[in-house]
Amino acid sequence: MIKFITKRLLIAIPTLLIIIAFGFIMMRVAPGGPFTNERALPPEIERNIQEAYNLNKPLYEQFFIYIKNLSVGDFGPSFKYKDFTVNELIISGLPVSATLGLSSIIISLFLGSFLGIIAAVKRNTYFDYSVMSVSLVGICVPSFVMAPILSLFFGLYLGILPTSGWNGGSILNLILPITALSLPQIAVISRMMRASTIEVLNSNFIRTARSKGLKSSYIIRKHVIRASILPIIEYLAPASAGLMTGSIIVEQIFGLPGIGRYFVVGALQRDYTLVSGVMILYASLLIILILITDILRAYLDPRVKI
């Protein structure tokens, strides 16, 4: 187990390097730079700035300097938020994004699986039909449409929930963003769970369990769920990627001080270090999540050995 985890973490290093290099090149290739303004700066000042940020050096040298700093955990200074380093920005934004992302993934995992199982057990009933049609809406309507609608309805018309702001992480402020973020995932997960549960329910070993005269609820709990949740575990990593990109939009709409907005603002303003920093963070999170997924799968399915 420990051998497996170390091996996977070591493999992750070249993966991350490739992602860093790719991001580095993409940002430099994009026209303009962090200090391009409508009004051109005097050449002396521009030279000074470029020197301060090592921008006057050749590209490969800049890359090596960046990697060298990264290896000691220094993401470098932000180009646009002048008084902050990227580390400080990420540390200030991460709790917000992490709260949002983690609660969304936990809620969508549990609610989605739960709805999926019930829909599968009661298939072709009104419950099944309503869950499936609502989830179809959830899949079709993207979160950047859902978020303003929720905000408008619950925040303005009903006036029961705040439309934006973080407010020190109060639950009332979190309800709407988490809902907007989880709805599409709940929809996808419930549909996947329904399909896989139906497949498991029709399998031979469930017939055996039924021939033992066991209670249906017991059969679902002990025999069905562990087999039918496997595809959902596989989906966990792509779902998290979806939640991360979704959170960028949702944080913007609800005015939350997470790291998502740094990603957008950084990319628009060519804040090279900030974009790279957030990208590395997202990539590492995903790599760790995929690792957790593999461990979970081995735990759930004894046929998978790690």
Partner: protein, 273 residues
């Protein structure tokens, strides 16, 4: 081959099926899979059911035990020890399923839950039906594994199905059906997926169950050779109906129906049946 089961005493009757019909709702309309079947089995007797694929032999016994798929339903009666399995509610039928009636399926490879330890799959049934504790039922599991002649029983308890061979899995299936000391075991093609050596070992276990523990066995198979070895009586099915029934000896030596004759002619002449 003993075949003097003619003098049936009424109190020996274990299961009696009367006018059983099984239907399936399909997109092509209603399909009748089993047509007016009557059969009976006594205590300690082995009944062999032969027929080709799709002759309704499996569905007959699925319908009795409530294992029909969702689009299927049945009419008729199946009296097990004075209790009608078909007209009763699911809840009442479940008291008999697994407890007094054990079921063994065709494909041992996929018939065990892949993510549960063998010990749990064995013990859950007597925890549920006999209110045993986990410890007691694991002890019972070891006894049962001994009956089906599985070696190293203690290791088996903690292993998973994929770690066992096909023959071992089928023995585990038989062990599961034996957990609550049933009076009837329905074995649906128990040897079809196994090689010939394992087949004869499994059939020997069935003979032991019948002769030593006095369990009645319904042996469903398309292989008349398998049936001939173990059963006292034979039913031959075709297209959902019974075309011939009688004692094994009579059916094999003096078949009346054309289809039975055809079935018997399928056995190569150098085999001694």
């Amino acid at each position: 081959m003993q075949s003097t089961q003619k003098n049936i005493k009424n109190n020996d009757l274990l299961l009696e099926v009367n006018n059983l019909n099984v239907f399936f709702n399909t997109t092509d309309g209603l399909i009748k899979a089993v047509n007016n079947i009557n059969l009976s089995i006594n205590k300690g007797e082995c009944l062999g059911v032969v027929g080709e694929s799709g002759s309704g032999k499996t569905q007959t016994f699925f319908s009795i035990t409530g294992l029909l798929s969702n689009n299927g339903y049945c009419k008729g009666s199946a009296i097990f020890k004075g209790f009608d399995l078909i007209s009763s509610s699911k809840k009442e039928r479940m008291k008999y399923l697994g407890k007094s009636i054990g079921f063994i399926f065709q494909d041992p490879m996929t018939s065990l839950t892949p993510h549960m330890k063998i010990g749990d799959q064995l013990s859950e049934i007597s925890i549920f039906h006999d209110n045993l504790t986990k410890k007691e039922s694991l002890k019972r599991a070891l006894e049962v594994l001994d009956i089906v002649k599985l070696p190293k029983s203690r290791n088996l308890i903690t292993s998973y199905p994929h770690e066992l061979s096909g023959g071992m899995k089928q023995r585990i299936m038989i062990a599961i059906s034996l957990m609550c000391s049933p009076e009837l075991i329905i074995a649906d093609e128990p040897t079809t997926a196994l090689d010939v050596t394992t087949q004869s070992e499994i059939l020997n276990i069935f003979n032991d169950l019948k002769n030593q523990l006095g369990i009645s066995i319904i042996l469903i198979s398309h292989n008349i050779g398998v049936i001939a070895e173990t059963s006292d009586n034979i039913i031959v099915m075709k297209d959902g109906s019974i075309v011939e029934n009688g004692s094994t000896y009579n059916v094999l030596t003096n078949p009346q129906d054309k289809y039975t004759k055809l079935l018997l002619s399928c056995i190569p002449p150098w085999l001694d049946v």
